[in-house]
């Protein structure tokens, strides 16, 4: 998207191309601005984060103790929380999203398809604070009973039981994950739907002609063609889940700890920044900015990974 390739030779217009030159310069400037802004954000944030990073050293990344009132700043619990809630969100959102997208492209009658697509797009436009308020006022109150029930059944199971034991709390990693799942479902659905639409009709018909059932056709023709696009869609959803702030902050429980108990409270990078920035000064403030740098790096890595996977898929198909 940001690479500027020269126009193919041999297609040069005969007349003077002053307009083209100006357009190229302008679009190059726009493209470059994006890079410059990204770079400047990274530089200035890192600069402001330096005091905390210097004070804590590597401990900032490896310690889970966050005690601003005693000058201890460790980000590990927040990194852990961010990853856990994003993972929970993906576990719930990905199958549902792909299911909706398949329903819309392969199963639903044309008229229904329009309505459902419209509703999905509408869900994507709901502000995150609305999801958060719904989560904290409705979901977190109702869901504790469900947690207790699940905990009673699953806690005695070896290994897996660790995830579900302990006192259930409506404001927990799991609730935050569920809210995020709800929020990223529309994005993943919208993108996978577009991708499924690009599967050539001929391939699908060929599969059916060979005697494939509808599911076998999806498995044999739709998925192989869409794999890289689906991964890209999931990664975009993951990127949004990791950066989502207020919805997660309201329901996550704000307790910096590393615990396998999914029904217990935790905390995530964006939530801490949003909730503690107002009262922070000095090294504390700088530590919060450092959390922002970590989040920035994590989202860039996820997006780059998505791009690499998508590109590799395209190359493989082209070859």
């Amino acid at each position: 998207m940001t690479t500027t390739t020269p126009p193919p030779t041999g297609l040069q217009p005969a007349r003077s191309a002053r307009g083209d030159t100006a357009f190229r310069a302008a679009s190059f400037l726009c493209g470059f601005t994006v890079l410059a802004i990204l770079g400047l954000i990274a530089v200035s944030m890192t600069q402001k984060a330096l005091p905390a990073l210097q004070a804590e050293g590597l401990g900032f990344l490896t310690s889970a103790r966050w005690a601003p009132n005693e000058g201890r700043f460790g980000a590990l619990a927040f990194i852990y929380g961010t990853m856990v809630i994003s993972a929970i969100a993906l576990v719930f959102a990905v199958p549902v999203s792909i299911g909706i997208a398949l329903f819309l492209t392969e199963v639903a009658p044309r008229r229904l398809r329009k309505v459902v697509s419209y509703v999905i797009d509408l869900l994507a436009a709901v502000p995150s604070v609305v999801y958060g308020l719904w989560g904290v006022l409705v979901l977190s109150a109702v869901i504790v009973d469900a947690y207790d029930a699940v905990g009673r059944v699953l806690a005695p199971v070896p290994l897996v039981g660790r995830l579900f034991e302990g006192p259930a709390n409506g404001r927990s990693l799991f609730t935050a994950g569920l809210i995020l799942a709800l929020m990223i479902t529309p994005i993943i659905t919208a993108i996978t739907r577009e991708i499924f639409d690009t599967v050539p009709q001929g391939q699908k018909e060929a599969a059916v002609a060979l005697g494939a059932t509808r599911w076998e056709m999806i498995r044999g023709a739709v998925f192989p063609h869409s794999r890289s696009g689906m991964v890209g869609a999931v990664m975009l959803g993951l990127g949004r889940a990791m950066g989502e702030t207020i919805a997660a902050a309201l329901v996550i429980g704000s307790s910096p700890r590393i615990s396998a108990q999914l029904f217990g409270p935790g905390d995530a990078l964006p939530s801490v920044i949003a909730f503690q920035f107002g009262e922070a000064s000095g090294t504390y403030r700088s530590a919060l900015i450092a959390l922002g740098v970590i989040l920035f790096a994590m989202t860039i890595i996820v997006n780059m990974a998505a791009r690499v996977i998508v590109n590799r898929g395209q190359e493989a198909r082209a070859a």
Partner: protein, 360 residues
């Protein structure tokens, strides 16, 4: 592609909003006051921008609205955002004054861009220990018990320590749910400072705008978030400022003060705590766990911070005028908003302090 289109649209909307706000402010600045001269001199047109503590914000907004009527040419914007934000922005010279529930750390004092600054005490308000037990009226607690409850060492309401303080109450065996703030807060800072001061041997979490709460506590956003948890959970207890506790019609405990008396969180009890507190030369003071038989032990102080040496004449006069108004007429508005006004002695000192503001 869809993704990249969204932020751009949003950016445009934000820019448009800014432009509108800026236009609105400009308009307000230019208006020439049409009111006839009253007994107080009319101030030149000026806009004062401020940010900081949210705890006294309801009071400041009342004062600002009524000051606008007295001095139509002066606009005061108080943006809230938290004490830390206010202090940082005053330090960087971005605001004309800052609200703060806490004092500036000694190491940060030299960082203030325009040099020396003054503390102007404004109001106080009690922080309640609110609880939800429908059958228990007038719960009595002392600092050690409160500390143990919030550290989760006491986990049921019929614990021996609570029974000892409330021999006549029929305490249920309901488990205690502790509600605390999820966001950094001056209320947390003052509540924990009180525990450090009144229960030094029991309270181990120290004080601060965020402390390391036990994991089995419930986190609510803002005073009303905590009040919401207490309101919605039988057996819950949390620290909430008086106005939010009243707004949610919570019941609150009476606390044992330094003199050994049980006092309810009232404005009178808070004013009594102010009278019992030692006021330093810079007008910083600590009303927590104050002496005096009638003093409520968790009275939260708050200040406005201003630079002593001002650079802009109109602004400096407006600032001094506003703060004088806040300390005189403004104090009458405090009780309606559930804040306790300053006692006369402290108010007079604060007014005298304002005279040391240097106007160019």
């Amino acid at each position: 592609m869809i993704r990249s289109a969204f932020p751009f649209g949003r950016l445009l909307a934000v820019l448009a909003a800014f432009a509108l706000v800026a236009a609105g402010c400009g308009g307000a600045d230019d208006t020439v006051g049409t009111q006839a001269d009253s007994e107080t001199p009319r101030l030149a047109s000026a806009t004062l921008n401020a940010s900081g503590a949210t705890f006294p914000m309801a009071f400041y907004e009342e004062v600002i609205a009524s000051f606008k009527e007295a001095q139509p040419s002066v606009t005061v914007n108080y943006a809230g955002g938290g004490s830390g934000k206010g202090r940082q922005e005053l330090q960087d010279g971005l605001v004309d004054f800052a609200g703060s529930d806490g004092l500036v750390k000694a190491e940060d004092v030299p960082k203030y861009k325009n040099g020396e600054f003054l503390y102007v005490p404004t109001v106080t308000a009690p922080i309640t220990v609110s609880y939800n037990l429908p059958d228990v009226k007038d719960m009595k607690l002392d600092a050690d018990t409160v500390a143990k409850i919030f550290q989760r060492q006491i986990t049921t309401w019929d614990d021996a320590a609570i029974k000892a303080l409330n021999p006549d109450a029929r305490l249920p065996s309901t488990p205690i749910t502790v509600a605390r703030r999820s966001d950094g807060s001056g209320t947390t800072e003052n509540f924990t400072k009180y525990l450090v001061s009144a229960a030094p041997s029991t309270w181990t979490l120290k004080s601060g705008s965020t402390v390391e709460w036990p994991a089995d506590t419930q986190a609510g956003n803002g005073n009303n978030g905590v009040a919401g948890i207490v309101k919605g959970t039988v057996g819950a207890v949390g620290y909430v400022d008086l106005s939010d506790a009243k707004a949610s019609s919570l019941q609150f405990a009476t606390l044992k003060n330094a003199a050994g008396k049980f006092v309810a969180p009232t404005l009178d009890g808070t004013s009594a705590a102010l009278e019992g507190a030692t006021v330093n030369a810079d007008l910083s003071y600590d009303p927590l766990n104050a002496k005096g038989e009638k003093a409520y032990p968790i009275a939260a102080p708050t200040w406005i911070l201003v630079y002593k040496n001002q650079t802009d004449k109109a602004k400096a006069e407006a600032l001094k005028g506003f703060l004088t108004y806040l300390l005189n007429d403004g104090q009458d508005l405090a009780e309606d908003a559930d804040y306790a006004p300053l006692p006369k002695s402290l108010k007079d000192k604060a007014l005298a302090q304002l005279n040391s503001i240097v106007i160019p």
